[in-house]
């Protein structure tokens, strides 16, 4: 099953399971989704539950939040997560703070999902790694699912969660195939990292497209006799620090890979908590491989240069492995 089909299946199953679940967004109904994630859902559930909206991100996100305050469980689709910037105030000031600000009276069980991150020559305004705009905000959960099974299991958990969840997919992964349990109760809890590849010499923390690139690098290094462990956080907030720190305690070396620009990025946070919690276990400083600190350029070669490559990941792993430990 493809990643796209896994998302579709998760939506379909949750809509069958719970009549309060509905989908709101641009082109989610008649058009069946800009990336066809909602294919067939309008036919199956009708326009009351698959709601096409005009291009009004702030408006329809706010509608989703208001509806969630009264007990519905809306899944709001961002055609691309870059458009969520137009709804940033609703997400940050309304959804994330409602439960706290109301002293626990009103919660907002909403999922805001759609693709984000580098894709294929989508240029500056459609390629941003959007997670950094959200994981800073208390009250939001942030998910980045790398595989079809994770896409299904995490989306279902997100829909069942009583809090706002930011669920960022990727254009580059929609066609990726993988084993997906056909079980309607297949859930992956939020806040649980997974070891994608066991290893003993170095821990690489990576998610989404970067996780696949890190896997390639790991295969190549295996030929050199370097054993790489890859940890995929899956949920960026809450972050499963225990699994990551546990892996680093075993390997004594860590590399973080992220597609976004590095300054105050995910890598900064992961490097910080590894240093805080496992400093004495480290044999080398934590290395970061990040996207260049530039807007995403259009030209193919420049786009390649902006995003972390396998070679850069290889260099970083070699650097920490050959560092002299204490």
């Amino acid at each position: 099953m493809t990643y796209r089909e896994a998302l579709n299946q998760a939506l379909r199953e949750e809509m069958h399971r719970d009549p309060r679940v509905l989908v709101i967004g641009e082109e989610v109904g008649l058009y069946e989704g800009a990336y066809k994630v909602t294919q067939g859902l309008l036919k199956e559930f009708g326009p009351t539950r698959i709601v096409d909206t005009p291009i009004a991100e702030s408006g329809f996100t706010g509608v989703g939040i208001g509806a969630a305050m009264l007990g519905l469980r809306p899944v709001v689709e961002m055609m691309t997560f870059n458009f969520a910037l137009l709804a940033l105030d609703q997400i940050v000031n309304s959804a994330a703070k409602m439960h706290y600000m109301s002293g626990g009276q009103y919660n907002v069980p909403i999922v805001i999902r759609g693709p984000g991150g580098p894709a294929h020559q989508l240029a500056a305004q459609h390629s941003q790694s959007m997670e950094s705009y959200f994981y800073h905000v208390p009250g939001l959960k942030v998910v980045r699912p790398s595989t079809p099974a994770d896409a299904k299991g995490l989306l279902k958990s997100s829909i069942r969660d009583d809090n706002p969840v930011i669920f960022i997919e990727s254009e580059t992964l929609y066609a990726v195939k993988g084993e997906v349990p056909d079980d309607e109760d297949f859930l992956i809890p939020l806040g649980q990292a997974v070891v994608r590849r066991p290893g003993t010499d170095v821990t690489v923390i990576a998610y989404m497209g970067m996780m696949y690139r890190a896997l390639e690098a790991a295969e190549e290094l295996a030929k050199e006799g370097v054993s790489v462990e890859i940890v995929d956080p899956r949920t960026l907030r809450p972050m499963d620090t225990a699994t990551i720190v546990g892996s680093v305690r075993k390997t004594h070396r860590a590399v973080v890979v992220e597609a976004g620009a590095g300054f105050a990025g995910m890598g900064s946070e992961i490097a910080a908590f590894i240093t805080e919690q496992a400093f004495d276990d480290l044999d080398a400083p934590v290395e970061r491989v990040t996207g260049a600190s530039a807007p995403m350029p259009y030209a193919k070669n420049l786009e390649r240069a902006k995003t972390p490559s396998k070679d850069k990941i290889l260099d970083a792993i070699r650097k920490v492995c050959y560092a002299r430990g204490s």
Partner: protein, 337 residues
């Protein structure tokens, strides 16, 4: 192209007035006024911090609109929401405790003056980003319709919100989807210090309803019965036909924008403020019910005493309530954690 658009300039509110209704309206307006006068005193004493926005002068909108609602209808508002919350029936003691930042406040002291929420009275909160709660109101109305209910949502906002994109997005979505929401613009003529004419190309705010094929009308926001009547019509449309309405209630705030703008005199003249005070909605209504014989002087005195007692009690309650325990800093961030 524009069906059902009501454009009456001034509704008649001449029908004989029910005694209980007269008492309720006067009580609610006086309660809001007294609550805010006492809040201003407490602010001066340092018992209330941050921003405190008073609605003194605008009480007829909250009282009149709420009187047209059922208890299970919803209301949502701005950071100038004390009156809307109290009119909905919320306990003034817990509202005052919230302003004081105490544990017995509606929001455990985490919300404050700008963020009163009372789920037990379907009060969906005070929201302090101008315009941002209009889509939330549409969403609440969406949920009512989705669930097959017949409640309605009243959404209060100021003239300042009209220049925001979310005002227009919300009106469009509410009309497009036929949602049972009543947008009540409290036009007090100043968005903070910016006069209407300096902010809007169309200063007849109710007319924006026409652009969205939505019933719309202006009303004298200093006339509590007129507000009640206009909102009542809108409620009926919303309940029966799931139709939204835009109402422009023309009102005036006697105090500054917030306690940090005590005089409110830089952007408007003292003469103007004094002239507007002659339209005090409480005085107008009290004089009317006395003149028409609906209520006697003794009735008014009783209401006044009741209100004063309630608010004294609210202040005493807030004073006696403890600060929230420090551990509460990290509770309520997520539900279920």
């Amino acid at each position: 192209m524009v069906p059902n658009v009501v454009t009456k300039e001034r509704p008649a509110s001449a029908a004989a007035l029910d005694i209980d209704l007269a008492k309720r309206l006067l009580h609610d307006m006086m309660l809001i006024r007294r609550f805010e006068e006492k809040a201003a005193e407490a602010y001066a004493l340092g018992k209330i911090g941050g921003f405190l926005h008073l609605s003194i002068g605008e009480e007829a909108v909250a009282a009149g609109a709420t009187s047209a609602l059922r208890a299970d209808d919803y209301a949502i508002s701005t950071y100038r929401e004390h009156g809307h919350c109290l009119a909905k029936g919320s306990d003034p003691r817990r509202a005052m405790a919230e302003l004081f930042g105490r544990r017995d406040g509606f929001c455990k002291g985490k919300g404050g003056s700008m963020h009163l929420f009372d789920k037990s009275h379907n009060f969906l909160g005070g929201h302090a980003i101008v315009g941002a709660h209009l889509p939330l109101a549409a969403g609440a109305a969406f949920a009512i319709k989705y669930q097959g209910g017949d409640q309605v949502v009243v959404c209060y906002f100021g003239d300042g919100a009209v220049a925001e994109g979310e005002f227009h997005e919300s009106l469009n979505l509410s009309a497009l989807w036929q949602l049972p929401v009543i947008y009540v613009c409290e036009n007090n003529r100043y968005a903070m210090g910016t006069a209407l004419e300096r902010a809007l190309a169309e200063t007849e705010i109710w007319k924006f309803g026409r652009s969205y094929n939505m019933p719309c009308e202006p009303v004298d926001g200093m006339d509590v019965l007129a507000v009640r009547e206009v909102v009542g019509r809108a409620v009926e449309r919303a309940r029966k036909d799931k139709s939204p309405t835009l109402i422009e209630a023309r009102t005036y705030r006697f105090r500054g924008h917030s306690m940090r703008d005590p005089a409110g005199a830089v952007y408007r003249t003292k003469d103007e403020v004094e002239r507007e005070k002659l339209r005090d909605p409480i005085v107008l209504f009290r004089d009317r019910v006395l003149r028409e014989g609906t209520l006697a002087e003794a009735d008014v005195r009783t209401i006044e005493k009741d209100v004063n007692d309630l608010i004294d009690e609210a202040v005493a309650f807030a004073d006696a309530s403890a600060e929230p325990p420090v551990e509460w800093l990290l509770t309520d961030i997520f539900k279920g954690d």
